[in-house]
Each structure stands twice: as C-alpha cells, then as structure tokens.
C-alpha cells in the first residue's frame, strides 16, 4: 500500500495489520494506518466501506456491538495497544473524544452539556469545571455567542450550534485525539462551513480524524486522506497529492466520480 507519512513525526494512532469482524463477517481487512499528531486525517470511501467502523476501533466504541472484535492485528494510541488488559476504557475515551453524525446534546443546559465529561470523570471543583467549560466553548467558537446564556436549554440552539456544542463537550476533557463521524452530514452549507473552519482551528491543539462522504470536504479540511473500499485501505497519503495524483486506479476512479 502506498503511503507517504512523515517518519520524523511519531504517529499518535497506529493501526497495524488489523482485521475487524462482526461475528463471522469480516468488515475490515489488513488495515495499516498511521495518524500524525495535530493533523487532520480524513477517511473517505463509498458507503459501507468500513470507514465508520475503522473510526470506532480507535476509541473502542465497537465494544458495544455484540460479536464485534478485532480478529487480527492491533490498534495503538500513544504507543499503547488499546486492547491490553491494563487499558482503562474510561481513560482511553477521555483521551480519544468523539463527535457523532447526528448532533445529540443532552436535554440539559448548555453548561451541563459541556461539563458532562468532567463530571463523569469525578471533577467536583466548580472552578475547574467552569474554566474547562469556558475553554471548550471558546475552542468550539461558541463562547462569544453563548456566554450570556450558559444556563439556557441546549435543545434551543440551532442545528449548527448544537453540533459545535457537541464538539465542545467532546474537547472539554482535553483529549489528544478527536474522532468525528460525518459531523456535517445533517447540517446546511453555512453551518457546515463553520464546522470546517473550526476543524482547522482544532488541529492546532488536537489530532482530528474525520469520516466524511463528501470529497470536497476532505480536500478542504484534511492534511491526510485515507481511501477505503470494501473494507480495505486502498490508499493513504497527503490529501493534496492524493487528489492530484492518486497512485491507485481505484482511488482515481472514485475521486473522478467514474466509480462502478
């Protein structure tokens, strides 16, 4: 598989020769992926190619699905195999945050939504929580809009604001990696644009891995792109290079839209 990641930068997420199966059905075959720190990596491919499954392997969200397991290979985050017995799922997910396709703020106040992660991790100090809420909302470009109505109900926000609130909630615990599963697919173009800008800014502090079905979005937001097809990683490389000169025939036909 052609790959052009920078060997000088140690990868924060490494997927090594991984097979992933739902029961007896293998969904991912021999995936190798190295995600560079503080960059945006996009996972693209036709629906059903396994890009969301791959994303969910990184914070072990697939654990919830009965029969789902890694059949071969391993996933390492910050150098540690996340399926080791001494890995605490709570700590893993604190450091690998996730934003979902459908914005789903809790029906609580804006403040309590952002504070949720901290409260779950046992933070009691009101001042610490308040600082974290302010920082997360600032990083999610919501602080100026919402600072006067933190106690308002989160479901009163617009769709785009709700999704940015979900991003704020995910980064309130200051994870190293932020996983995003088609975060804009339910949003209008303007809200989408705002989230894309936000992703650029987030990449200063976080490693972002984003699943998208929108190739233009991948071009706009990502530094690296991985193209998956039928559970296989076909090509992985710098986004600009891959969209200009794809090395694989399959990648080229997908990007040109002449996919059969």
């Amino acid at each position: 598989m052609p790959t052009d990641s920078n060997p000088a930068q140690p990868s924060i997420v490494e997927v090594k020769d991984m097979d992933f199966a739902y029961g007896s059905k293998t969904a991912l075959h021999g995936i190798n992926l190295e995600v560079e720190r503080k960059r945006v990596t996009a996972l693209i491919g036709p629906s059903g190619c396994g890009k969301s499954t791959l994303l969910r392997c990184i914070n072990r969200m697939n654990d919830r699905v009965t029969g789902a397991r890694i059949a071969k290979g391993e996933v390492r985050v910050k150098g540690k195999n996340i399926h080791d017995a001494d890995v605490d799922l709570t700590q893993l997910r604190k450091q690998v945050g996730m934003v979902f396709q459908k914005s789903n703020p809790f029906p609580k106040t804006i403040y309590e939504n952002v504070a949720y992660g901290l409260r779950v991790h046992g933070e009691k100090d009101g001042e610490v929580i308040h600082e974290a809420v302010e920082r997360a909302l600032t990083q999610a470009a919501l602080w100026d809009e919402l600072k006067d109505r933190l106690q308002a109900h989160a479901l009163g926000l617009s769709g785009g604001q709700q999704q940015r609130l979900c991003i704020a909630r995910a980064i309130a615990t200051q994870p190293d990696v932020l996983l995003m599963d088609e975060p804009c697919s339910a949003l209008d173009p303007i809200a989408t644009l705002k989230i894309e800008e936000l992703i650029h800014q987030l990449a200063r502090d976080y490693t972002v891995i984003i699943v998208t079905h929108n190739m233009q979005q991948a071009v706009r937001v990502s530094d690296y792109t991985a193209f998956l097809h039928l559970g296989k990683l076909i090509e992985f490389g710098e986004t600009e290079r891959m969209f200009d000169r794809p090395k694989e025939k399959l990648t080229e036909s997908y990007l040109r839209g002449t996919f059969s």
Binding site: R64, T90, R93, N104, F106
Partner: protein, 392 residues
C-alpha cells in the same frame, strides 16, 4: 330507445348486498353505543346517588363528617309518629331518654354510620407502600432488561414471565401474599411464634420465618406484585424512548455503563416512568382480592397510628420521646387497616340493605370512583404535557 340517461352503469344489487351493508353498519354502531351507554349509566348513577352524600350546598361544600370520621354502627331511632332519628352509639341512649314514652323502636345497621376516614387512610397507606416497592423493583428490572441484558432467548423468557404475571387472577396474588408475607416472611424477634417455619438464632435475637401477619406491609408487598408488570413494561418503554445517541455520547465521553444510565438515560426517562406509574397507583387502590387475606379488615375503630403505647415516665428524656415516635411511625406498617374497595365489598355484601345503609354505600363508591378517576386523569394529562415537552 338509446337515451343517454337510461341505464345506470353503476347500479348495485339493491336486494341483498345493500341490505347487508346497512345491517352490519347498524350492528357495529349499536355495539359501540351500548358500551358508552353502560359506562355513562354506571357513572351517572353513582354520581347522582353519591355526590349529595359527599358534597354540601353550603360552606365548606363537602361532607366533612363523612370524610373525617371512622366508620361505625348506625343507630336509627323511631318515635311513635314514625319519625326516624339517625345517630351513633353514643347518641342513642340520650335520644331514647329524651323521647321517653314516645320511643317506639331502634334499628342498628353495622358499618353504615360515621364516615369513611379509616378506609381512605388504609388505601392511601397501601398505595404508598406498594408503589414504593413496585417502583424500586420495577425500575431496577426495567433497567436490567433495557440496558444490561443482551437481547436473546433469556430476555424473551423474562418478558413472557412478566406478561404472565399480569395475567394472574388477583385472588391468586392474595393467596400468594397470605402464604409468603402473612405466614412465612422472616422477622427478627426474641420470642418466635409457635407456627414459625424456621428459627435461625442470631447473636442477640432470632430470625424467625413466621410471617408479618395481616398488615400494611404484607398487603403492600402483595399489591406491589400485582402492579409490577405494569411498572416494568412502562419503565422499559420509557427507557427505550431515550435516544440511543445519548448512551453512545456518554460512553464516548468515558462514562461507565452505570454512569451513563444514571446521568444520561434515567433523568430523561423518569418523568415518563412516574406518569405511567400513576396508572399502577389506580390499579393498586382498586384491587380487593389481594388485600383481603393480607391487610384489610372489615372493621377497625382506630387509625393505624392510634396505638396504645405504655405511658412514658414523667422524667423521660428527649430520646425516649423520639424513640416512641419512631415506634409509633413504624407501627403504622405493622397494623392491619380498612381499605376502600374492601369496605365497599363489606357494605354491599355483608349487611342487610335498606334506606339507611345506602348513604355509606353510595358515598364510599362515589369517593372511590372519584379518587381512581382523578388519578387516571392526572396520568393522561401529564403524559400529554410531557409528550410535548420532551422532544429530541
């Protein structure tokens, strides 16, 4: 001959099909109207007969005596002119003396005098105890079924068992309660009863399986099992109605399963669970058979907290007073009580009927109907409101 309007191309076979259509429509319509008519006539009859007993035209507009006095025997004293004076046992002698030679006859009608405070209090206690127990057990098992158990044969078996529990006749629950709670449930005591099935000596006392006797606790537990299926099913539906995304998000933020349930599922299911439970309350208040052997008495001249206690010495400290209050409070649950449905049964089936027994009969049924109907109405109203409020 070939007129344009002559033949109707859609003419039906008037004779049979049309007539059958009309017959069926009327049959269906009449069946429906019959149900409505029966309901209306029952409710109207009870309102017409019962409302004047419970309500008053002048302030305070309710019959305070009927709602705040314990039931008692009704004494009716007739004079020679045929006038009837209704009174209770304390008033009877005075009136007889006053009438002197004019006294002709005295009739006594059991349970029909006084008010119905005893049954109201008893039913309230039974409902509180049973709903508390049923909510705790029901919500726990609903959480298990909805959040923990993996979908499969075992869960289907459990669901089937719950459905079957809902179909058990209520008198069977009564007998179960008699066997399990009245006669065998364990108690801590120094002096076990001779009927005790098993006595396990502990350090300072003994654990004796001798049952709790007929009391609020036995009845409450029995009723709890009657309403458990309703509560489990409703709670499970409410938990399932909380979007799956909340659970995913919470887990993705590092919450454990219990943290997720406690912080991101239960708070949003609770209003629905409580609303649905009100129907359980109505059911618990209405059941007669389960409490017949386990908690209810036909007659009791004391409220559950009016229990004789040894008088405290004059120099008793705060602690002794406090201890006695606690004992008095706990004693409520080990007392047998009167209950509205059982009181109605007693009035209807255990005493001779005449114009003087009607007052207590219709009054009790009216109060009971209004209580249960308002509980059900509250439930429906709250559910409507919540449905508008909780949209995600």
């Amino acid at each position: 001959m070939m007129s344009n309007e002559s033949a109707n191309p859609f003419a039906g076979d008037q004779s049979s099909a049309q007539r059958r259509e009309t017959t069926v429509r009327w049959l269906l319509r009449l069946s429906t109207f019959l149900i409505v008519a029966v309901t209306v006539s029952i409710v109207a009859h009870i309102f017409i007969k019962g409302a004047p007993i419970t309500f008053r035209k002048e302030f305070p507009f309710v019959n305070v005596k009927f709602l705040t006095e314990l039931p008692g025997t009704l004494h009716v004293i007739f004079d020679k002119q045929g006038n009837a004076i209704e009174t209770d046992v304390n008033g009877a002698d005075g009136i007889k003396k006053q009438l002197g030679d004019n006294f002709r006859e005295e009739k006594t009608i059991s349970y029909s005098g006084g008010g119905i405070l005893g049954p109201i209090v008893g039913t309230a206690l039974l409902v509180v105890v049973s709903v508390t127990i049923a909510l705790f057990l029901g919500v726990c098992s609903a959480i298990y079924l909805s959040e923990y158990a993996s979908k499969g044969k075992r869960v289907e078996m459990i669901r089937l068992a719950i459905l079957n529990l809902a179909g058990v006749p209520s008198v069977v629950f009564g007998l179960f309660g008699l066997g399990a709670f009245v006669l065998t449930a364990p108690v801590l005591t120094d002096t076990p009863h001779e009927r005790s099935l098993l006595v396990i000596p502990l350090l300072f006392t003994k654990l004796s399986f001798q049952g709790w006797d007929t009391c609020v606790l036995s009845g409450g537990f029995t009723l709890a099992f009657v309403i458990l299926p309703v509560i489990i099913t409703a709670s499970e539906q409410c938990l399932q109605a909380v979007p799956q995304g909340f659970r995913e998000t919470s887990m993705a933020l590092g919450a454990t399963r219990w943290q997720t349930i406690w912080r991101a599922v239960l708070p949003f299911a609770t209003p629905g669970i409580l609303t649905s439970s009100i129907l359980g309350i109505a059911r618990a208040a209405g059941e007669t058979a389960p409490i017949m052997f386990t908690a209810a008495l036909a007659f009791k001249d004391k409220l559950p907290w009016q229990k004789d206690m040894p008088p405290l010495p004059a120099d008793a400290g705060m602690f002794a007073h406090w201890e006695q209050s606690v004992q008095r409070f706990l004693g409520i649950f080990t007392e047998s009580v009167q209950a509205l449905p059982y009181h109605i049964y007693t009035l209807a089936a255990r005493i001779p009927h005449n114009e003087y027994s009607e007052r207590a009969q219709y009054g009790s049924v009216f109060v009971f109907l209004v209580l249960v109907a308002s509980l059900a109405a509250t439930s429906i109203w709250m559910r409507r409101r919540l449905r508008g409020k909780y949209k995600w």
